[in-house]
């Protein structure tokens, strides 16, 4: 059974079409990621699914309940961790948790088992004001508060934005543990590398979905040979690759530059000798496995292949 079902949802703010006819389904116990930059429409989708906004058109259901007709029921059932820190800064850690439990007509004790692995890390600071917590701890507390009524579906809007790599990693470990408890998770993130943490992802840009699949299958959609090129002077290397007569796409990629050619298959030697002839030193040319980011860029610019 699908826990979340979105059918052709749209939403406009004045003249701006934030969401342009999006559809997807999330199965029970699945971690589904909405991956895309700021302004892609991720938060609007969360607001519609958590019944904070009505869709312009289209239908959406959460746990079989309609987001417009059954909004009250949805609100009491789901868990939601908004993108902006939304706990009470002038309440302590423990008071925040008690508050959210009481809003949902339950108690901290009744559901302690579910949050215990996360909350135990916060317990030494339970009397501290929420405002005085570090970024990573705020995020853990927000997760506990969103879980305190044992929701079957949990919405997490950019939970890892602005936190460091260590906290991000720990946070994903917590989400995987929740999945084991059959909780369905919809997570959004602008970090492309987090796609791998999800069972399936939707890549989203400008209010539209570019691709929906497992992370592996999404990168399989990258049909071209991808080359990783490295040389001493990266800036010059980029310019030279762009000037090459068969050049299709050229993108800096960390220490290397990712390159695709207009031709179907190419020989690394040919590219190498062109670059050497132009004076590039310490040259390394090798085939690369496309990442989610490579695929995302390719999908963003379908015209790239017709340049």
């Amino acid at each position: 059974m699908s826990m979340i079902k979105v059918q052709n949802i749209t939403k406009s703010y004045g003249n701006v079409e934030a969401v342009k006819g999006i559809s997807f389904e999330v199965g029970e116990g699945e971690i589904f990621g909405l991956i895309g930059p700021d302004g892609a429409g991720k938060t609007t989708i969360f607001h519609i699914l958590t019944t904070l906004l009505k869709p312009g058109s289209g239908k959406a259901k959460v746990m079989g309940l309609d987001v417009v007709d059954d909004y009250r029921k949805i609100r009491s059932e789901v868990g939601y961790m908004p993108g902006r820190f939304a706990l009470y800064r002038d309440l302590s850690v423990e008071e925040n948790l008690q508050f959210f439990a009481s809003v949902f007509d339950t108690s901290v004790d009744a559901n302690y088992e579910l949050i215990k692995p996360i909350y135990s890390q916060l317990e030494p600071f339970k009397d501290r004001l929420a405002d005085d917590l570090s970024g990573g701890m705020k995020q853990k507390l927000a997760l506990c508060c969103a879980l305190i009524h044992k929701p079957k579906v949990l919405f997490l809007d950019e939970p890892t934005t602005g936190v460091d790599a260590v906290s991000r990693k720990e946070f994903w470990q917590m989400l995987h543990r929740l999945k084991e408890q059959d909780i369905t998770l919809l997570v959004s993130t602008p970090y492309m590398d987090e796609a791998e943490q999800c069972d399936r992802v939707a890549l989203i840009q400008d209010g539209e979905i570019l691709s929906i699949n497992t992370p592996k299958a999404v990168t399989k959609g990258f049909k071209k040979e991808l080359w990783s090129v490295k040389a001493d002077n990266k800036y010059e290397l980029i310019q030279l690759l762009r000037q090459y007569e068969f050049s299709e796409t050229v993108q800096p990629f960390g220490e290397t530059v990712h390159y695709t050619d207009q031709r179907e298959k190419i020989d690394a030697g040919e590219l190498e000798s062109y670059l050497k002839g132009q004076g590039m030193e310490h040259l390394h040319v090798k085939k690369a496995e496309p990442t989610i980011e490579d695929t995302f860029m390719r999908l963003m610019e379908p015209e790239a292949s017709h340049e």
Binding site: P37, D38, G136, A165, V166, S167, Y235, P252, G254
Partner: protein, 245 residues
Amino acid sequence: MSEPMIAAGNLTRKFGDFTAVDHISFEVKKGEIFGFLGANGAGKTTAMRMLTGLLIPTGGEATVAGFDVYSQAEQLKRHIGYMSQRFSLYEDLTVRENIRLYGGIYGLTDEELQSKSNQLLSMLVMEDFQHQRISSLPLGWKQKLAFSVALIHEPQIVFLDEPTGGVDPITRRQFWEQIYKVAEEGTTVFVTTHYMDEAEYCDRVSIMVDGRIDALGPPEGLKERFKAESIEEVFIELARGAERE
């Protein structure tokens, strides 16, 4: 060899009993792209505030672009560029007004301002949008404009504080190309970021843990030393030992 653009020796900042930055020493060369990494609370912001003349150290020494952080903080501020993702441009001013404001703050003459504004607008291909308010522009454009504005007085070094959060991968790369270009032209770029994959775009990176610099070197060298596949792994390995939360 030319003078280093940043030279810090045992630079320290205490707040009461708490040592936010604990004897850090490093140098950044002219034209280098230097990545400054650290976990939340590791002391990055405090270090950056000292290097930009906003906070007096409690110990050690540092010069930036040849200016002493204790005695020449005012000159230092005038000779560096600074951009942060959130606060660089005035949202309710137009593109052209923002350029004029920053040019004015950095002491450009009216003539210089005219020619600089036109040059900048044409370089960014934003002539048609010069009278639009910043709030109406896409995030990627704001970022490119903020970067150019931070360089309007042609500083020898520019500090970028978390510059690329939230933009799409193509825009992010266009931004890095802009960085490569100015570095190629001799400007030093000092950048802090949360994206560990972004660290790999830098010539060298330093990683702060509990107020100290625990690793420093080119991304490739650090990965070799820590037998890691990525800078993210190096970072996690180091930051795991952190005692501060």
